[in-house]
Amino acid sequence: MKISADHDRCEGHGLCTEQAPAIFELDDDAELVHRFEGTDIPPEQLAAARAAVTSCPVAALRELP
């Protein structure tokens, strides 16, 4: 499973970083850093990743098959 991030839509609310700190972080400029952009999410991170997707307030994160 991959997760796409729409960086234009992201406003930096940071809820994903609370749900899945191993996948997402905000850099010093509050820009989203997605550690698994374009690659599969590690199995042990799947639940956290899905929680991040559902918590994004502006729906900038999408689960890809």
Binding site: E11, G12, H13, E18, Q19, D29, A30, A59
Partner: protein
């Protein structure tokens, strides 16, 4: 309307004065009836459950905002030109004009100032000891938001009343909405004067707007509506969240103790407050093309009511939904809406509410009820109107 008889019907008026004060029993009955419920009183399909609310908010091409999000045609016509009532590229353009100032990114610079103001507000409340929690809750939004939008010092005394009225008008056309019309027009008139006479504070969002208009990025005539867009929804809503937080921690001392012991819970506590006592009851969407929600046909041109406050208490989505628990993961609550039209000011609302909780946790030992709370009458905003509290210093 086809096959309406097959859709469960909920006859009580969920906008009656009594239902406005205590809406949750109505929402519970509607959720039991089904995923889509017909409200004959308002001639609208309502969505009382979480999954359908979220799905409709995400499908903003089918369920559009451009023809208004109110429950009455007059308000939907009057609120043309606002970001709230726009779609697609037009919405993106309007939102980009001002929302960039409201992102957590842009608000970082504000955090220290807001923290300091919150500390002063809590110190002043502690000095009085017995307070109206609603007044305490109003203080921070009233000191932060008008400066940010650039509203001149004059006219600020009317802002809370005008803002509440602007929301009231978005409900059904009941007595509550009709009584709010003069105050709603008062705000519109004042915003026009402010834009026309360029009375906005330099460097503010309002200033940004006027400069964008000067540069031809939007029409000058669009400015007043856009200013109201960011002013009216930023006061009563955040006031609601802060007042509800005070009320909930006063009535749940165990939860207050948890928060005192671990202030790291504050961000999620704000999510849980907004889930449990959602400041916004509901907005509508217009169905742009024939659609189906949970097997119910929704014809093009009809309206659907997205009940955020009910979705946030849906047992299908939340374990023990009527229990206030700051340890639950409440991040996916729908109190700020969701997706493209998700609240543009939620970063600011979170910043203010978290700042108040940080200031309270550091200075207050106990929050105790000092009399019965009263809820306010408003078609859209669910908030306390009076909240007698005693604050016991740490």
């Amino acid at each position: 309307m086809p096959r309406r008889h097959e859709v469960p019907v909920y006859r009580p008026d969920i906008y009656s004065p009594q239902a406005i004060l205590d809406p949750y029993p109505h929402y519970a009955k509607m959720r039991e009836l089904g995923p889509v419920v017909w409200l004959p009183e308002h001639k609208i399909h309502a969505l009382p459950r979480y999954a359908e609310c979220k799905a409709v908010l995400l499908d903003d091409k089918t369920f559009v905002s451009g023809d208004g999000v109110a429950l009455n045609a007059i308000a939907n016509r009057l609120s043309r030109g606002t970001t709230l009532n726009s779609d697609g590229e037009d919405h993106t353009r309007r939102r980009a004009l001002v929302a960039h100032r409201l992102t957590p990114r842009a608000l970082r610079a504000l955090r220290d100032v807001v923290d300091r103001q919150a500390a002063e507000i809590v110190d002043a409340a502690l000095a009085r000891r017995t307070v109206d929690g609603v007044e305490v809750a109003a203080a921070l939004p009233m000191s932060v938001v008008p400066d940010l939008v650039g509203w001149p010092a004059e006219g600020r005394e009317n802002l809370l009343r005008w803002g509440a009225a602007t929301f009231d008008i978005l409900g059904p056309l009941n007595g509550q909405a009709v009584r709010a019309v003069p105050a709603g027009l008062g705000m519109a008139r004042f915003a026009h004067t402010v834009a026309k006479q360029r009375k906005v504070l330099p460097g503010s969002m309002g200033d940004d707007l006027l400069r964008a208009a000067d540069a031809g990025e939007l029409a000058h005539a669009e400015c007043p509506a856009l200013m109201i867009d960011y002013l009216a929804p930023s006061l009563d809503t955040t006031l609601s969240a802060i007042a509800s937080a005070l009320h909930l921690f006063a009535t749940h001392p165990g939860q207050w103790r948890l928060l005192k012991d671990d202030p790291g819970l504050i961000p999620n506590a704000v999510n849980e407050v907004v889930r449990f006592e959602s400041p916004l009851r509901a907005f509508s969407r217009k169905v742009a093309r024939d659609a189906e929600v949970a097997g119910t046909a929704l014809p093009a041109g009809s309206r659907v009511l997205v009940l955020y406050a009910s979705a946030n208490r849906d047992a299908r989505a939340w374990e023990d939904p009527d229990t206030f628990d700051i340890r639950r993961d409440a991040a996916r609550q729908l109190g700020f809406g969701h997706g493209t039209h998700g609240c543009a000011g939620q970063g600011l609302a979170r910043l203010e509410t978290q700042a108040m909780l940080r200031a309270l946790v550091a200075r207050v030992d106990k929050i105790e009820p000092a009399g019965p709370p009263e809820w306010a009458q408003n078609n859209i905003i669910h908030r306390l109107g009076r909240l007698p509290l005693e604050l016991i210093p740490a």
